[in-house]
């Protein structure tokens, strides 16, 4: 390592930077709406930044900026060249660059949310990019999705099942979804939301607050996992 290496990602003190929270999930499941809801709920008490990974241009970033939930300058968009999962998993350079740009411009920050582009059930965030990750499904994809699993559903730190208000209309059985998710997730939490009805996604916001609190004050995120 060079004598004057100053790549913050390598900083030995994990507390010297914001918690990086990845939010992934299929197209249309409500990732951007969840990011907006978290900004509404957490914005008053936390210093936030948001990085979006868009399929086309800067659509999600523009949506968030228009929503007025956060200073538009604190929202950066990363373009992924047809491969949204590559940018969050295999080649995270552009996302790290965006996260650190936000921290340099507005830091110190408490939380930087990295929203992935809509992708399939196999897309998860690299641990080199996200300290913690949420996977978002919606009920209209069918109540079999949790049973099908995939790394997003099984390994995310929190699974959010959104659009519960649509369940009766699409014939989705929330009990089945809850039971199947529990079976493949080895006890990791699952939350059901309807962000259209609860614009602050309060259950999820509470979970995120707990994670951010652990990161900054207790030095660990999960049982037995010590922050480097």
């Amino acid at each position: 390592m060079g004598a004057h290496h100053d790549d913050k990602h390598d900083a030995p003190d994990g507390h010297g930077r914001a918690l990086r929270l990845g939010i992934g999930g299929p197209v249309g499941s409500g990732k951007t709406a969840l990011v907006a809801a978290l900004c509404r709920s957490l914005g008053p008490s936390m210093r936030l930044g948001v990085v979006t990974n868009d399929i086309y241009t800067t659509e999600d970033a523009d949506f968030l900026r228009r929503a007025g939930v956060l200073d538009p300058d604190r929202i950066l968009a990363v373009q992924t060249g047809c491969c949204p999962h590559t940018a969050i998993r295999d080649d995270i350079a552009a996302n790290l660059d965006a996260v650190e740009t936000l921290e340099e411009r507005f830091g110190p920050l408490d939380l930087v949310i990295v929203e992935s582009g809509g992708d399939n059930l196999t897309a998860t965030f690299s641990r080199g990019l996200a300290d913690s990750q949420i996977f978002v499904l919606d009920v209209s994809g069918g109540d079999k999705v949790p049973r099908k699993g995939g790394p997003g559903v099984t390994t995310a730190d929190l699974l959010v099942v959104n659009k519960t208000d649509l369940a009766p209309m699409v014939g989705a059985d929330l009990t089945v979804m809850s039971r199947d998710a529990g079976a493949v997730r080895d006890g990791r939490p699952v939350l059901f939301t309807s962000i259209r009805e609860d614009g602050g996604a309060h259950g999820v916001a509470e979970w995120v607050s707990g994670v951010v609190d652990s990161w900054h004050h207790h030095g660990h995120l999960h049982d037995g996992e010590v922050v480097p």
Binding site: G2, Y56, Q79, T80, G81, D90, D91, A93
Partner: protein, 291 residues
């Protein structure tokens, strides 16, 4: 061949390259590239223009980076950290040469973004004084070929290999992008790349020749070289450089002396069509790629 060259040329190198199409996305949108035949011509043109320039810049950066590695072995660890660090000057100057060869602001931005991401990645893979100097000298990101040459030096490659890697990058990124955008047969596109292999080697050699037209004998009188049509009279630039003679480290005077005159003579065969594609891409309503 140094095996690290394989890592440098691998499209899986996690340095953000996958999000750039090198003008291919806009060429597809404009209807210029519609299939393998168009793509073959696009790639050949790109290699002969932007590819040659990138290869020459990468070779120069690798030479500079290798010199930085050698020099640093003779300096103690605290030297060269400040803003006045003489090791940063040649990096800035070489980067300015890249800027001068990149007319389109959109291309400059794309080249700097890719360079910044490459340096961020390379500093962790191949920690080296050359990359540290470059990162400090051009904190917003050096042009990608300059970053690639510095990375090649850090990885132990020689300037010819750096030039080859740059030539390779100049066509493989756009080729892959075209496969994704047009749904082309990936085997057919790799066939096109295989057909270009001899030209890649020739481009790398031409880049080295251009560089060594001036560096082979730095003590010789500076004259224009009739074999190298883009050479201007370098005496003016050398005489007007405010930094010549100011460097205190005798090892660096050589680099200073070399850089000003010979880098000005590097190829500047950039393609106006690529500049125009980059500018119109920036204004396109929908884009999948950064550039």
């Amino acid at each position: 061949m140094h095996a690290a060259l394989l890592l440098l040329a691998d499209s899986r190198l996690p340095a953000g390259g996958h999000a750039h199409s090198g003008g291919a996305e806009e060429a597809v949108r404009a209807g210029t590239v519609t299939g393998p035949d168009d793509l073959a011509r696009f790639l050949r043109g790109r290699l002969a223009t932007a590819g040659l320039v990138a290869a020459a810049l990468a070779a120069a950066a690798c030479e500079l980076g290798s010199a930085a590695v050698d020099t640093s072995e003779r300096v103690d660890g605290d030297a060269g950290t400040g803003e006045g660090d003489p090791a940063m000057l040649p990096w800035r100057r070489l980067d300015a040469e890249a800027d001068a060869r990149t007319a389109s602001p959109a291309q400059r931005e794309a080249a700097r973004t890719q360079g910044r991401l490459l340096v961020r990645t390379a500093r962790r893979i191949w920690p080296s004084p050359a990359l540290e100097s470059l990162a400090r000298a051009v904190p917003d990101g050096a042009h990608h070929p300059v970053a690639l040459g510095a990375t090649a030096a850090a990885a132990g490659c020689d300037p010819g290999q750096a030039a080859l890697a740059a030539a390779y990058w100049s066509v493989t990124g756009p080729a892959t992008a075209a496969v994704r955008l047009l749904g082309l047969d990936p085997v057919a596109v790799h066939r096109l790349l295989a057909d270009l292999a001899p030209s890649l080697g020739a481009t790398a050699r031409a880049a080295r020749t251009a560089l060594h037209t001036w560096t082979a004998d730095p003590g010789a009188p500076w004259t224009t070289n009739p074999d190298v049509p883009w050479t201007a009279d370098p005496d003016d630039r050398r005489a007007s450089s405010p930094d010549i003679g100011r460097a205190t480290d005798p090892d660096l005077i050589g680099v200073e002396f070399m850089s000003d005159a010979c880098w000005a003579a590097l190829p500047a065969t950039t393609a106006p069509a690529l500049d125009l594609l980059a500018e119109s891409h920036l204004r396109a309503e929908t884009r999948l790629f950064v550039s």
